[in-house]
């Protein structure tokens, strides 16, 4: 398992020696509520994005959003709007801005910025200087959101 994982990672590196570093949180370019470019240059994985969405330690999006595509999860929060059919309402580049830093789209929102590693006060030590999600996890969640059509 381990060995295979490592060799895949290495192979990935070798296969795309030009693949850029992910865009750092402070370098993300928000323009009128959209982020045009992918944060990683690697296509998002909707299957992993689905896990990030429900995982309490990652996106925990289900804490605040009802999602009809996850009926197997017993508790869906209601703090934000239902995300059922969200791909019909928002384009990929808008979703990227909303997930990376929703405050750039919704003024004063309670929704956390998932790709910010500075600008918040008194973080617990373990989280200091870190973003809630990695750049790839953000891209994965966006890919998953894009499957939510009605």
């Amino acid at each position: 398992m381990r060995i295979i994982g490592i060799s895949i990672a290495v192979a990935g590196l070798l296969a795309s020696p030009l693949a850029a570093e992910p865009v750092a949180p402070n370098d993300v370019n928000y323009e009128d509520g959209v982020v045009l470019a992918s944060l990683t240059g690697v296509a998002g994985d909707p299957v992993n994005g689905r896990d990030v969405f429900k995982n309490r330690k990652l996106g925990n999006c289900l804490a605040c959003h009802v999602n009809a595509e996850m009926p197997e999860e017993s508790f869906h929060g209601e703090v934000g709007p239902e995300l059922t059919g969200v791909a019909d309402r928002w384009e990929q580049q808008e979703l990227r801005a909303i997930v990376a830093n929703s405050k750039m789209v919704f003024d004063g929102t309670i929704m956390p910025a998932f790709y910010q590693d500075t600008g918040y006060e008194r973080p617990l030590k373990d989280f200091d200087g870190k973003s809630i999600l990695t750049a790839q996890q953000v891209e994965d969640v966006i890919a998953y959101l894009q499957t939510l059509k009605e």
């Binding site: 309490r56 925990n60 289900l62 804490a63 605040c64 017993s74 508790f75 869906h76 929060g77 209601e78 703090v79 309670i110 956390p112 910025a113 910010q116 600008g119 918040y120 006060e121 008194r122 973080p123 617990l124 030590k125 373990d126 989280f127 870190k130 809630i132």
Partner: protein
């Protein structure tokens, strides 16, 4: 619980949102005594129309545990505190009972705490520990420890049913302002303030939890989650850690100021000590 939400939305639908509160079906009565669990918000709580007890938002099963002192697991700890009350400790060979004849004499005290005294904000825990160190020559109890929460529950119980009524003027004003500022300040990696959840979104589900106004009228609170009494500051600490914020010091100035401010937001609600929550 759902009843509140259902009622409100039906009423809004029918264009009579203003009359919903009168129809509120949930009532709390313990051993024949009626409790005020919903009241008009005090003038200093600008953003709320009404203040509500956290009891309202718990499940039917959890609410039921508070209806009868025999079912309320918090009373196991209150009973232990009665033993502590009579237990001699410290260099002066005294117990609480040596000087305070009846714990019933503390009726009303809980409604007025925390209070400002000689430039400091004083909580129930401070008063108890002051007696231990100054009057008994005994070690102070741990601020949120089992002996302390038992004793503050026993003393708080003497005010059960009385309305919260802390002073926020005079010497208390500066502490109150500080507490208010903390209440509205976003903290932690999730960058949220107390108000984001307990003011903007109360009566809303956040995953499996029904958000309340985060009131303190029931503390110390017996929680099913950890099967013990929990101090006000321990709860504040838990909420801060959930948003990945470094909590302020338990028993420290920030939490005391926040406690005063939140107590003032519950002005008019009955003391429910010891309440039951999940």
């Amino acid at each position: 619980m759902k009843a509140i939400k259902l009622l409100v939305s039906t009423a809004c639908f029918m264009g009579m949102a203003a009359s919903t509160h009168a129809e509120e079906p949930a009532t709390l009565s313990i051993e024949g005594q009626a409790f005020t669990i919903q009241a008009s918000a005090p003038a200093h709580t600008e953003n709320l129309d009404e203040v509500t007890s956290g009891w309202i938002y718990r499940t039917k099963e959890t609410r039921a545990l508070q209806l009868d002192d025999f079912d309320n697991p918090g009373f196991v700890f209150v009973d232990k505190a009665i033993d502590l009350w009579n237990e001699v400790d410290g260099s002066e060979d005294k117990s609480c009972a040596s000087c305070h004849e009846n714990v019933e004499d503390f009726a009303g005290l809980r409604t007025t705490l925390p209070r400002a005294e000689d430039g400091e904000l004083v909580t129930m825990e401070d008063l108890v520990n002051e007696c231990r160190t100054e009057q008994m020559g005994a070690e102070p109890w741990k601020y949120s420890g089992g002996k302390m929460t038992g004793m503050t529950a026993l003393i708080g119980l003497q005010s059960r049913g009385m309305l919260m009524n802390v002073a926020i003027d005079g010497e208390a004003a500066a502490f109150w302002e500080k507490g208010k500022e903390l209440y509205y300040t976003r903290v932690g990696q999730l960058d949220m303030s107390c108000s984001n959840c307990h003011e903007d979104n109360y009566d809303t589900m956040i995953r499996a939890d029904h958000l309340s106004q985060g009131q303190t009228n029931g503390f110390p609170t017996y929680r099913l989650k950890n099967a013990k009494l929990n101090s006000t500051h321990a709860r504040f600490k838990g909420c801060m850690k959930n948003i990945r914020a470094q909590p302020y010091k338990v028993g420290g100035d920030e939490f005391k100021s926040l406690e005063l401010y939140i107590a003032s937001r519950g002005q008019g609600l009955s003391v429910e000590t010891p309440s039951v929550r999940n």
